[in-house]
Symmetry: D2
Subunit: 352 residues, 4 copies
Amino acid sequence: MIKVGIIGATGYAGGELVRILAGHRDVKIMWYGSKSYIDKKYCEVYQNMFRIVEDVCRDDNLTELAEQVDVIFTATPQGFLAGVLTEEILSKVKIVDLSADYRIKDVGVYEKWYGIEHRSPQFIPEAVYGLCEVNRDEIKKETRLVANPGCYTTCSILTAYPLVKEGLIDVDTLIIDAKSGTSGAGRGAKVANLFCEVNENIKAYGVTSHRHTPEIEEQLGYAGNCSVTVSFTPHLVPMNRGILVTEYASLRKKADGSLPGEEEIRAAYNKYFEKEKFVRVLEPGICPETKWVEGSNYVDVNFCIDKRTGRVIMMGALDNLVKGAAGQAVQNMNLLFGLPEAEGLELVPCFP
Amino acid sequence: MIKVGIIGATGYAGGELVRILAGHRDVKIMWYGSKSYIDKKYCEVYQNMFRIVEDVCRDDNLTELAEQVDVIFTATPQGFLAGVLTEEILSKVKIVDLSADYRIKDVGVYEKWYGIEHRSPQFIPEAVYGLCEVNRDEIKKETRLVANPGCYTTCSILTAYPLVKEGLIDVDTLIIDAKSGTSGAGRGAKVANLFCEVNENIKAYGVTSHRHTPEIEEQLGYAGNCSVTVSFTPHLVPMNRGILVTEYASLRKKADGSLPGEEEIRAAYNKYFEKEKFVRVLEPGICPETKWVEGSNYVDVNFCIDKRTGRVIMMGALDNLVKGAAGQAVQNMNLLFGLPEAEGLELVPCFP
Amino acid sequence: MIKVGIIGATGYAGGELVRILAGHRDVKIMWYGSKSYIDKKYCEVYQNMFRIVEDVCRDDNLTELAEQVDVIFTATPQGFLAGVLTEEILSKVKIVDLSADYRIKDVGVYEKWYGIEHRSPQFIPEAVYGLCEVNRDEIKKETRLVANPGCYTTCSILTAYPLVKEGLIDVDTLIIDAKSGTSGAGRGAKVANLFCEVNENIKAYGVTSHRHTPEIEEQLGYAGNCSVTVSFTPHLVPMNRGILVTEYASLRKKADGSLPGEEEIRAAYNKYFEKEKFVRVLEPGICPETKWVEGSNYVDVNFCIDKRTGRVIMMGALDNLVKGAAGQAVQNMNLLFGLPEAEGLELVPCFP
Amino acid sequence: MIKVGIIGATGYAGGELVRILAGHRDVKIMWYGSKSYIDKKYCEVYQNMFRIVEDVCRDDNLTELAEQVDVIFTATPQGFLAGVLTEEILSKVKIVDLSADYRIKDVGVYEKWYGIEHRSPQFIPEAVYGLCEVNRDEIKKETRLVANPGCYTTCSILTAYPLVKEGLIDVDTLIIDAKSGTSGAGRGAKVANLFCEVNENIKAYGVTSHRHTPEIEEQLGYAGNCSVTVSFTPHLVPMNRGILVTEYASLRKKADGSLPGEEEIRAAYNKYFEKEKFVRVLEPGICPETKWVEGSNYVDVNFCIDKRTGRVIMMGALDNLVKGAAGQAVQNMNLLFGLPEAEGLELVPCFP
């Protein structure tokens, strides 16, 4: 039995970790960390867990926690983990960090986009970027610290990955238009996230400045072995869960001057995803819908070639709290501990 | 491995059966019956099941199906099963009927409220009303035909059951005000169920005439050992899933002229539900919310005494597609086949 | 031109006052009071008013305001107006108070249900309860202080009023089950009102203890000329606007022992509402829906007789921000100043 | 008094025409055409109009109607008007066509994208494309037939218009990612538009093939005086009303090799829109939201320069049923009859 501690267990991502781990056969949650609700029963914060979780919330003492568990999930604000992580902690426990603290290798880029100083950059080099389908082998190797990818980034990267990797698109033309449900904004009490402000409304936000941009660029840069600069625009959609990305890029001319066709593009997607349990390349002509992946760890992807403009429109959908956060974190944990990768993640999407 | 056939597999309740049974260890679905989509791949109708279900839809031939499976779920319109059921079929296979055909013992009442002739009333007597928490023992005994309760009725009955059973309320004063998500209206293409008609709207419907009324009355009558007539008013709420009932009744005076208090009422709830896995009596002061049971087989109940009026306000919440339909159907199947009652139903509610 | 000041202009009810008054020909808003946004442009708080309102928000100085305007709307928390109102202010300006401070004649009842001390009970006697359809004549008479009714109360009272007034129902059996959109909860940043907490969810709240209860009881008591005690249960519905009430009461036997029939009940509704512009008695068999009154000052009412139980089910729908708050406040202002009652309120409901 | 006939009065756009014209001082609706509801009272189809509209629905006889009214609005499926329009009709009455029949000058393009034969191409040349802000003068001149623009197109064109017109962007790089509420899909009873299918879901549709594409291209081509080919991707959003477009284009280098800056771009928007009542260029840094224009005839636009990529992200929001359909149609009618352009359209956006 793997002993698990969660810091930030009462945020939406933390709550989803609890939900998923409740169905994981090899895990026992030992510590429900929540600074805001110390000593309160967890199921009083999330009544859906009534009679399922009996524990009370505890504080976020990482040092103490490291003594008691095998793995810690940190579903905490940016800067928290970087501020408290030590070699001693890492020597005792594995960490899957759902924040952005160790996702970006260039600390300068992190500090610029997040506007905070990184207080433990010495751990950045060893952190493995936990996009399981891409970095599976590396995660399995002695990794102590996994930087769990962001919700937008997981969706954005996987949707474009095969075409960037195979050089089928001109990465300089890549534009990512992303739409997210509101749970991505977290459980903080802000006017902008009130029901009446979000419902019957859609807006873009963080235009040209969203923090997931450099993360997408770095990872697609590794895939394409080149520098990548993208336009990334997130939108807030009146639904609880789900991210949909619509990505645009010009197809790259082949040696003979022609553009790659439907078959070549599809072959690229199949090359990387055919054997992936959690990435479903949909049948031709079917556009991903967030509802089809709700509650599950799937990413649905597909594409459409626009012959008139020479572009390919790539689309991807996932549940931001599952594959976009807690699900992928559990997938990473499974890899870290040599468990079957899908253990606890055989979640059938719920419709309607 | 229990072989299962589903008739009406592409309605919302049928789809939920497929979702739940996909996670049931002792079951294999052999037949996805759907008159509207014969020969179409099931996952093309419900894309959430892509790469999970590979089968194609088949017709609704009950006779043929009875040869191939151990149990049939009929998630079909009223009158369908009554029109085709035969002794031969019942001799070969168990049936869990999600329609109303065998729920009401008095065929005259059925025909009056449903406005159709019952074409096989001979099977009504042997049908067991599948409200598991109430009729568990009877369901387990050689039952061939289970009448799976309606969504409103499951919620309405369980919420009031302990107080009716214990004679703590005056049943003549019982009023049930019920609110349902829109999946209860089914997947038929009707203007009234279009997004723009339901969204940002709430209305009562079927006032004084909803078909679940006699079903509630019959079952509460058994509980109270008396004739019960209730006012039942359903409402359509702009959400996908969930039923909430708010029930009002005058407390019955005790011999000493006083009214039952908080403790007696709570004791009654605990008497019947404390050991029930799927009925959660919430802590004092906590009102049930549909979101807390979403996707799960739970019914959450609680109550509030109104000293000023001498009434008790009882509240209950469930997911209409799970405990209100498919989940309870699977619970019944588990009972029929001697499996652990919760097998396949360890569904943790999804929040948010 | 009537000069208007609004205190609490940036709450939802205040915002609705601004929207409605923007279309009122005889009014000019001179003061947008908002303690939270002093010196900020009003249209930066509500961007829908961009290029429509150019003013900045000001503080809530009632004394100063009284010098500058003819009428003040206070859309403020309970206790605010009672804490600052003086004879001097009232001698200079008329006030339409959207809070509960002067709605309840018995200050003890107010203090008990609201849990605060009333700091200017001397003005309670002169305050007129601004339910226009009931108290029109009194409002018109030299009134200085109008207590604008609550949203739930307006809907609850008007829906039952004719039957209480005509003695057609047994008021002791009256039960009000109310459902409200989320704007009724105000614009405060609370976790419970976040999109993800409200969306896809329904719950009762304030069961047996909601503050609108004594207001309903007092007013229906005047109508029935008797003491009235009701069960009132509000529910939170995932929509922005709208209140629906479903009310249950036993019909009162007539001298000959029979119950009032469809025609008598309808005649009672017509007697009081036929000539009312803003109360629409729907055609037989049509249930009110909140969407049909959205954005307008209408209340739609109807009823259904339940012969089996001897009850009548009364239903009413309104827009909580219009007839339930700002619209009725403007209607009151029109009455106070001798304007046509519907001026500025010819708002056609918006569908879908 | 201008006499108005509406063909297709019971669709969502037709219903919005009725709502808007109910508040127009110079108009009387003489004919509520609705093939599906002939002889039914209009307010039984749209109960929001109860006690506001007393008329019954009539058929769609354009010839007869032309004798009785001054202007006809056709809110009908593609091909309807083209199939029945004659010179005789046009000699008697002005027509504002909300369908696509006369929007596209090249009949071959129309027939290719719409997949139907155009049955009266002889009227195409005289039809004026009714984008009021762009073609105001032409609409005013003796026009008999106005082709009212599509919802997506109005939003897409106006959002990019100043930058295309001024040559500030490279039109070959223009990508339009559009998001629409569900009323845009009409009131037809289709499974795909049921509440449970749309709610909690977002998807792209009509990728590379949506019929509004050539309309956008033609109009932006006139603006830029060049051939324009765009990628246009619409998405379905779980809300009733509203369209948001997010448009991406590379800024065009100036003679000195530099890119246009914030000021130049803003100046371009102001040049065309500063005096336009219905186009609001938002303050720097404010992203348009559909909720801010709901129920009104406004289009809110703004932009953001992405220095890293050399692109400008343009954003626009409107209410698809108002400025995207009925509101603009009324604006066109006002122009046709020499009325103040905003008559009947002083609609204040409703929030929340």
